[in-house]
């Protein structure tokens, strides 16, 4: 049987891996079960079983950069979960932006309404998150400089740079359809980030 003190030792070790709360509890339960079985089946002491478990999890719990555009370090296992989530968010935003593009080509007024609705939703969700305490200023900073947005900004900058090379004027660049689509993409990404954050799902890195 694992004692409370031993459980605390496992907890301290896992806390150093900065896992997001639900994953922390899941991995902790896994650790305890694994250590317990090693102690039972191979008659190991707690320290020996704990060490063996740490070794078997070494790769998964190694701290790596969460993203190429993030300074935050997370455990590799958490990074894989985050990357899956980000992939889905990117696909959703891409599809949404494509639909917005179709709106724009068919009916510019409808597109403007869509943009206003998106902005209103953004302000409402942000306000709600701050009022209910689901978002702190530090979260907002992470949201504003999120790698998914930085990628979009970099892509946008390169498009404008190319447009500049192709001798477009400032006003022409400002009027480029692509700039409006980038804005829609950014807003949908931010809305999703705020939604997941409000649901206490880890997305801020």
């Amino acid at each position: 049987m694992i004692t409370k003190a031993q459980e605390n030792q496992i907890d301290v070790y896992l806390k150093s891996k900065k896992l997001y709360s639900p994953l922390h509890h899941e991995v902790k339960d896994h650790f305890i079960s694994q250590i317990y079985h090693l102690m039972e089946e191979q008659s190991l002491s707690f320290q020996e079983a704990f060490l063996a478990t740490k070794v078997s999890w070494k790769n998964e719990l190694e701290l790596v950069r969460a993203d190429i555009f993030s300074f935050k370090k997370v455990a590799r296992i958490e990074k894989s979960i985050l990357q899956q989530r980000f992939h889905k968010m990117t696909v959703f935003s891409f599809i949404f932006s494509t639909v917005a593009f179709v709106f724009l080509t068919l009916n510019e007024e409808a597109f403007t309404t869509l943009q206003i609705l998106l902005l209103l939703s953004w302000v409402s969700v942000l306000g709600y998150s701050f009022i209910t305490g689901k978002m702190k200023f530090s979260n907002y900073a992470m949201l504003s400089f999120h790698p998914l947005l930085i990628r979009n900004i970099l892509l946008g900058t390169s498009v404008f740079f190319l447009a500049g090379i192709m001798k477009f004027g400032y006003l022409e660049i400002q009027d480029l359809v692509i700039s409006k689509i980038f804005l829609v993409y950014c807003l949908t990404i931010q809305l999703q980030l705020m939604y997941f954050n409000a649901k206490k799902i880890n997305v801020l890195i």
Binding site: E7, P22, L23, H25, E26, V27, K28, D29, H30, I32, S33, Q34, H37, S56, W57, N59, E60, R76, I77, S80, I81, Q84, R85, K88
Partner: protein, 83 residues
Amino acid sequence: MYGYQITQRTKELTKGELEMTEGALYPLLHKLEAEGMISSEIQKTNGRDRKYYLLTDKGKRKQAEQEEEMKSYLFNLNTIFNI
């Protein structure tokens, strides 16, 4: 079933041939949960939280579908190599 139980059951059923690493297991479980293939519930065990995963109806349908595909694939392989 919970995470550790899944790894142990896999090892047991395949007599140690197939060992599922934790690094592959948890991201997969979270992905399947997000897709609605499995659901989870937290239960208290020995004073701590344990997350149990259950197949949803959607998951059961997908499992039956994949099982059929796999059987057909194995049948075809068997037919080819037993000529």
